[in-house]
C-alpha cells in the first residue's frame, strides 16, 4: 500500500484529502506544518507528499527545500495552493515540487494526478 503524507494547516482540508485518498486505498498520514512534516518524513518513508504552501512555522516551499536537501530516498511532491499567480507555480517547482495544483482540488483530479506521479497511470 502506498503511503502519502498530507501537509496542510487546515484540518478540514486534511480530512477532505484523506477521505479521497483512503477511499482509493492509499495509506495516509498528516502534518500541520513544514517542520512537523519534515520530522515525519525523517522518521518514516512516504511515497508521495501533498503539500500546502501557506503554513505557519515552515511553509511548503521551505519544507520541500529541506526535504530535497536530506539524504533520503526522494518521493514526488504535489504542491497545492490557493494562489493562482504564476510566480507561486515557478517557486513551487524551484523548491522541488513535481506538480502544482490550485485549491480546491476535485477528487477525481487529485486521484488522477497522484496515480500518475506514483507511476500507476500514464498521462
Amino acid at each position: 500500500m502506498k503511503r502519502i503524507l498530507i501537509v496542510d494547516d487546515a484540518a478540514t482540508v486534511r480530512l477532505y484529502h484523506r477521505e479521497i485518498l483512503e477511499t482509493a486505498d492509499f495509506m495516509v498520514d498528516e502534518a500541520m506544518n513544514g517542520i512537523e512534516a519534515l520530522e515525519k518524513a525523517l522518521q518514516t518513508g512516504f511515497d508521495l507528499f501533498l503539500v500546502d504552501i501557506n503554513m505557519p512555522k515552515l511553509d511548503g516551499y521551505g519544507f520541500l527545500r529541506e526535504l530535497r536537501g536530506q539524504d533520503l530516498p526522494q518521493a514526488p511532491a504535489i504542491m497545492i495552493s490557493t494562489e493562482a499567480q504564476t510566480n507561486d507555480e515557478r517557486r513551487a517547482y524551484a523548491a522541488g515540487a513535481n506538480l502544482y495544483l490550485i485549491k480546491p482540488v476535485k477528487p477525481e483530479r487529485l486521484l488522477a494526478q497522484v496515480r500518475m506521479l506514483l507511476g500507476e497511470l500514464h498521462p
Partner: protein
C-alpha cells in the same frame, strides 16, 4: 515546574450543577471528539487516535465538571476563547503523564554520547568546557542522569571538562535536587552496578553520592523572565523535556528564542518524546540522528 502552569484554579462548581447525580449527564459525541481532537492537535501537537476515545472522553468530562461549564459545548468554548489559556494548560497536564525518573527516555542520552558530543568535540576550536543546560531541573533526576551517562558511556569525559547546569523556577524542588534523595521508584531503571557506584542507601531511599551532587550546578530561573535568562550563554546542548507543551504560544516562542541565544552556533536542543519544535519555532534545523530527532541552532548564523 512551568512558570505558566503554577497552579491552575480548580473549581468544583460542577458538583452542584449536575442534574443527574447518579450517572454523569455529560456526553461527548463522536463529532465532539473529532472537533476536540483537531483543536488539541493544533494547540499541543499531541494526536489521539480513535483508540484513545475512552481515555480522552473521561478526562474531558472530568474538566467539564471541574470548571462548572455544564456541557462539552460550554467547556470547549471556554477552552477555545479563554485568553489566559489556563484551562488548556490544566487539560494538557491531565492528558499527559508527567513523571520523572532516572534514565527516562534513555535514547536521548545515548544520542548525546554517541552522536551529539562527537560532533561538538570535532567542531571545537578551543579547550573551553562543554556546557550542558538541563531545564527544568525538577527534582534532579535528569541532570544527574546526564552526569552518570557521561561518566559511564562517554570516553571523551577523560579529555574534556563538562559543566552541567540545571535550572528550575521552583526553589523548593531545587533544594530537593541538591539533596539528591530518591525513592525506589525513581531509580528502578538504573542498572544495579550504576546504582552501587553512584548512590548510597539511606533510610529514606537512595542518595546520589557527594561527588556527583557537587558536580551539577543548580540555579533558579524563570524561563519567561529575560532578566533571569540573560546570563545563560555558550551552551552546547540544552535538555528541555516535557516543559514547553505546558506553555502558551507566546511563552513557548519566547523560550525557544531564549534557547537560541543560550546556545553556541551549532548547539543542540533536545525536547521530550512527544514534543516537537513545530509548534514554536522555525529557527532551528531539524537533525535526525540514529537515536533521536534533535534541533540545532544553525552553524552559519552568527
Amino acid at each position: 515546574m512551568s512558570p505558566t502552569f503554577a497552579s491552575p484554579p480548580i473549581w468544583h462548581l460542577g458538583d452542584f450543577m449536575k442534574t443527574d447525580p447518579e450517572q454523569g449527564t455529560i456526553r461527548i459525541s463522536a463529532e465532539d471528539f473529532q472537533k476536540f481532537r483537531e483543536f488539541f492537535y493544533r494547540k499541543t501537537g499531541i494526536q489521539f487516535d480513535a483508540s484513545k476515545r475512552y481515555f480522552v472522553d473521561k478526562r474531558l468530562v472530568e474538566r467539564v465538571e471541574a470548571t462548572g461549564t455544564g456541557s462539552f459545548r460550554g467547556y470547549f468554548t471556554m477552552l477555545r476563547f479563554q485568553a489566559s489559556g489556563e484551562e488548556l494548560q490544566a487539560l494538557t497536564n491531565l492528558m499527559t503523564v508527567n513523571e520523572t525518573y532516572f534514565f527516562r527516555e534513555e535514547y536521548q542520552f545515548r544520542c548525546l554520547v554517541d552522536s551529539l558530543l562527537p560532533e561538538i568535540v570535532e567542531r571545537k576550536k578551543n579547550r573551553r568546557p562543554i556546557r550542558i543546560w538541563a531545564i527544568p531541573s525538577s527534582s534532579g533526576e535528569e541532570p544527574y542522569s546526564i552526569a552518570i551517562y557521561l561518566l559511564e558511556h562517554w570516553a571523551g569525559i577523560h579529555e574534556w571538562d563538562v559543566e552541567i547546569i540545571a535550572s528550575d523556577i521552583d526553589t523548593r524542588i531545587l533544594a530537593q535536587a541538591r539533596q539528591g534523595l530518591y525513592s525506589l521508584r525513581s531509580i528502578q531503571h538504573l542498572p544495579s552496578h550504576t546504582l552501587q557506584r553512584y548512590f548510597k542507601r539511606q533510610s529514606g531511599g537512595y542518595q546520589i553520592c557527594d561527588d556527583l551532587r557537587q558536580s551539577v550546578e543548580f540555579t533558579r530561573v524563570n524561563l519567561s523572565e529575560r532578566a533571569d535568562t540573560r546570563g545563560y550563554r555558550d551552551f552546547d546542548v540544552i535538555f528541555c523535556r516535557n516543559l514547553l507543551i505546558y506553555f502558551d504560544d507566546v511563552s513557548r516562542k519566547t523560550a525557544t528564542e531564549t534557547f537560541y541565544d543560550a546556545l553556541r552556533p551549532g548547539g543542540f536542543v533536545c525536547l521530550g518524546h512527544s514534543e516537537s519544535m513545530s509548534r514554536s519555532s522555525s529557527l532551528y534545523k531539524v537533525r535526525k540522528f540514529p537515536e533521536a530527532i534533535v534541533y540545532q541552532r544553525p552553524l552559519e548564523a552568527a
